[in-house]
């Protein structure tokens, strides 16, 4: 098991390195550079700025310097918000995004597994068809369509919940963003659970358990749940990535001061170091979470370890 985990961790390092180098090169290949100003900077100012930020060095030196700083958690200075480091900007916005993402993934797994199990147990019934129809719709409708429509219905028309990120705090402002973020993932997880559950419920050992007089509830709980949820577990990696991506839009729609909002704003300002820093952070998050899921997969399903 330790060997398996260790191999996985080692395998993740080249991925991370590749993302960082690719993102770094993209930023530095940009025509004009970070200090392109429509009014035109005097050449000596430009030169001084480039020297101050080390941009006059050869590309490889800059890359090495960036990598060695990132390893120590230093993402460099922001070119737009003078005096702020990228690390400070990220630290200010990360907590709210983490809260949002964690709640969304929890909701997605709980609601998705519940709906999928229900549909599998009542296979081909009206309820099954209804749930799966809703799920297909949920998968097809993008987050940035769901979110504004939810706002329109529940905030603008019905006045049940706040439409945006009100400063006063409170849990009410989290409800709509979390639901909008989780909805497509609930749908996907429900479909996976249903398929996995139907597959498992048709197997021989379940028939044996049934023959021994076990009730449906006990069969699902003690025998069917674990194997049926393996596909869901392996989907968690992509689900987390999708929720991170979706959060960018959600934060934009609801005006939440999170990481995604920082990213879009920095993209608009051409604040290269911030954009680069957030991409690197997202890459670390996605790779680390995928890694965690992979290792968990090995814990639950011993067959995976031997490959």
């Amino acid at each position: 098991m330790l060997r398996y985990a260790l191999l996985r961790v080692l395998g993740a390092i080249p991925t991370l390195l590749l993302v960082i180098v690719l993102a770094f090169l993209m930023v530095h290949a940009a025509p004009g550079g970070p200090f392109q100003d429509p009014r035109g900077l005097p050449p000596e100012t430009l030169k001084a700025l480039q020297e101050a930020y080390g941009l006059d060095q050869p590309l490889l030196v800059q890359l090495w310097r960036y990598l060695s700083h990132v390893v120590r958690g230093d993402f460099g200075p922001s070119y737009h918000y003078v005096g702020y480091s990228v690390g400070e900007l990220i630290r200010g916005t990360l907590p709210v995004s983490l809260l949002l993402g964690t709640l969304a993934i929890l909701l997605a797994v709980l609601a998705g597994v519940a709906c999928g199990t229900l549909a599998a147990l009542r296979r081909n019934s009206a309820l099954d068809r209804l749930l799966m129809g809703i799920a297909m719709t949920g998968i097809s409708i993008p987050v940035f369509v769901v979110a504004p429509v939810l706002v329109l219905v529940f905030a603008v028309k019905l006045h049940w919940l706040p439409a945006g990120w009100t400063g006063s705090g409170g849990l009410a402002r989290l409800v709509l963003p979390v639901i909008a973020l989780a909805l497509p993932q609930i749908a996907y997880i429900a479909r996976l659970t249903r398929a996995g559950m139907i597959d498992v419920l048709g197997s021989d050992y379940i028939r044996t358990a049934r023959a021994q007089g076990l009730g449906t509830a006990a069969i699902v709980r003690y025998h069917a749940f674990r194997p049926a949820l393996v596909p869901v577990l392996s989907y968690l990696g992509p689900a987390i990535a999708a929720i991170l991506t979706g959060a960018v839009v959600i934060e934009e729609v609801f005006g939440i001061p999170g990481l995604g909002e920082l990213f879009v704003r920095a993209a608009g300002n051409r604040d290269y170091m911030v954009v680069l820093g957030v991409v690197v952070l997202y890459a670390v998050l996605v790779v680390a979470l995928n890694l965690a899921v992979d290792i968990l997969y090995g814990v639950i399903d011993p067959r995976v370890r031997r490959r």
């Binding site: 930023v27 329109l152 991506t245 680069l276």
Partner: protein
């Protein structure tokens, strides 16, 4: 049950496939020809008729936007752009994915291992953010959007094509070709590729909605198609800003975008059923 045989027969006998294709064809036809039938164009502003609701009598059947432009023509233009981006991006992913997967699957051994390890590595990347980075660095180039989306979507295609090629290369007819001295590139082109069409078509119908999703996501964030051009994602974004006073600006493009994505997903699901039926006789 109809007893029609052959692929075309089974496709024509599948109600979901026929329905989805018919509606998508209709949407595409209206998007292409509709603007010619309307007396409005997508650029003209009319500040006397700003944020007007949909009416038959006024000639603006979808209403007007915040600049008094006709929403029907703009929506049709949006659908055109959205579908064009999706088709070109899917074609890019098709070419890369099929070529890559076929080479890896046919070569086997270390080359296959290296190529697939590379695909695994790319899978773990937060691609959408790299695309945004690309847009920021190089400006909002239309061509770049096509290429970027295509470059994301080829991974699935490569994996599936490789899997199929692995089993196809062991079939008797491929072995026969190999024994008679047909060179490998020719075997891939003439004997393997034609047998991949089924799988490729199914995954293409699932790639198209993914490409639409990415494009509209970028446009929604203001990083994709630029004014006065538009796409469904950009229209949804405009609608969000006006939703309190004029909800039709949000609802019409949102519903159309959702419907197109839903139709493609249903089509892909149904096609998978049709082609799977062939695998297990």
């Amino acid at each position: 049950m109809s007893r029609r045989t052959g692929l075309r027969g089974r496709l024509a006998g599948n109600r979901t496939v026929v329905f989805c294709l018919a509606v998508l064809g209709l949407v595409a036809a209206v998007a292409v020809f509709g603007p010619w039938l309307s007396r409005n164009d997508y650029l003209s502003t009319n500040f006397d008729l700003v944020l007007d609701g949909p009416t038959w009598a006024g000639g603006h059947i979808f209403g007007t936007d915040q600049l008094g432009r006709d929403l029907f023509v703009r929506t049709m233009l949006g659908i055109r752009v959205t579908i064009a981006v999706a088709l070109v991006a899917s074609a890019v992913s098709l070419v890369i994915g099929v070529f890559y997967g076929m080479v890896a699957g046919y070569a086997r051994g270390w080359l296959d291992a290296v190529m697939m390890r590379f695909v695994d590595t790319l899978y773990a990347m937060p691609f959408i953010f790299l695309v945004i980075l690309l847009m920021v660095a190089f400006g909002r180039n239309f061509l770049l959007i096509f290429v970027a989306i295509g470059a994301i979507n080829w991974l699935d295609m490569a994996r599936i094509v490789r899997g199929q090629t692995l089993s196809l290369r062991e079939k008797e007819f491929v072995e026969a070709a190999r024994v008679t001295g047909v060179p490998a590139p020719r075997i891939m082109l003439r004997h393997i590729a034609p047998n991949l069409i089924g799988v490729v078509v199914v995954y293409l119908t699932l790639t198209i909605p993914q490409a639409i999703l990415v494009e509209s996501f970028l446009s929604f964030l203001g990083l994709g198609v630029q004014e006065p051009q538009t796409s469904l994602g950009a229209l949804v974004h405009d609608g969000v800003n006006q939703m309190e006073g004029a909800p039709h600006l949000l609802l019409i493009p949102a519903v159309l975008l959702a419907a197109i994505l839903l139709l493609f997903n249903f089509l892909g699901d149904a096609l998978r059923d049709v082609f799977d039926a062939r695998q297990e006789p």
